[in-house]
Symmetry: C2
Subunit: 202 residues, 2 copies
């Protein structure tokens, strides 16, 4: 199919959401852990993480405005701290279930059966079941007026990865960790290595 | 390993780049096609595409400043148009090779052996070999002062996907297309479907 601008905006809402969410390829799949100022834990699934740079270590996240029971944005803006946890095949159903709109005050950790875990110096909860994870401090908040989403830039402050998965060059073997990727709104995929290529020269 | 802020900034440059590029999970892998005002074609590999919203259809891209032979940013800012093309296993070596720093004036299409392709109404070149692709018009440019990169927000104006890959709900079967994902700086992966899950309810 070939669709142009007018045709795109005329599509049925859910159909367009699936199509536009698929067109960019496979996406990073992570659980973002936060805590409110009152100490309530929140956990939410995201496919909008993007690498910004390695020095300083920065990443970006597109976040929707708070809605009932979805407090990721508010918690990040108020506390300045969040964790990012890779999702592995063993707990994909639980990770997906965090997308449900639970009533205010319900912790997604409890509701779906994942375990909050803390390390010294990080106020937000990690996901114990995730074996590759990191913490960020908020360094820039950019509201995107075009659709009322928010671009959250974080600086990585802590990283946790099993030694056995880190190569001599710093490359992390995500495949052996069973880390998943996603496509569209609700499709989850495991990976198989195709190739690693040397630094490209003309 | 557990690394905290001070330890992270003390890591050897290339090691840190591999580590930080791996920590966020698998990433979208796309070729971005642009054209200079003078008509010179440019093609470059990115792993920093992020979905922003489906209505309007918006996506974001982290782009580095122009360097010799890498004119993606300048071309997008000057012409306001670019194409995004998924990368399939059949041409992964060619896609990777577009990262090489070719001298000014060399088209990466020619240098690596990919074919520029045009459709009516889009001034930038698509990659003929890519079977899932779309065009964007620049709608917002956000310089990121923290590390001199740029966040480019585009509105999708054209989409091209083979009919056979689009499901009745608009979901695109990227796996059957042979679309790859990447991890770290140079590792490419095929995928295997694990599960599709229904809309989550409490």
């Amino acid at each position: 199919m070939v669709l142009t601008k007018g045709e795109l905006s005329g599509l049925e809402r859910r159909y367009r959401a699936n199509l536009i969410n698929s067109i960019g390829g496979f996406k990073s799949l992570v659980l973002v852990g936060t805590k409110s100022r009152e100490g309530k834990e929140n956990l939410s699934l995201f496919s909008s993480l993007v690498h910004i740079g390695a020095d300083p270590a920065l990443c970006g996240l597109i976040v929707r405005p708070n809605t009932e029971g979805q407090n990721t944005l508010g918690n990040i803006l108020r506390t300045g701290v969040y964790t990012i946890n890779q999702v592995h095949a063993e707990f994909i159903e639980k990770a997906h279930q965090t997308s449900a709109k639970y009533p205010e005050g319900v912790s997604e950790f409890e509701a779906v059966g994942l375990t909050p875990d803390y390390v010294e110096g990080v106020a937000a909860p990690f996901v114990k079941e995730s074996i590759i994870k990191f913490a960020c401090e908020l360094v820039q908040h950019i509201p995107i007026e075009l659709n009322q989403t928010h671009f959250i830039i974080g600086k990585i402050t802590h990283m946790m990865v099993p030694d056995a998965l880190v190569g001599p060059d710093g490359f992390i073997d995500l495949e052996s960790a069973g880390t998943l990727t996603c496509s569209g709104l609700d499709s989850y995929h495991a990976t198989t290595s195709v190739i690693r290529l040397p630094y490209a020269k003309p």
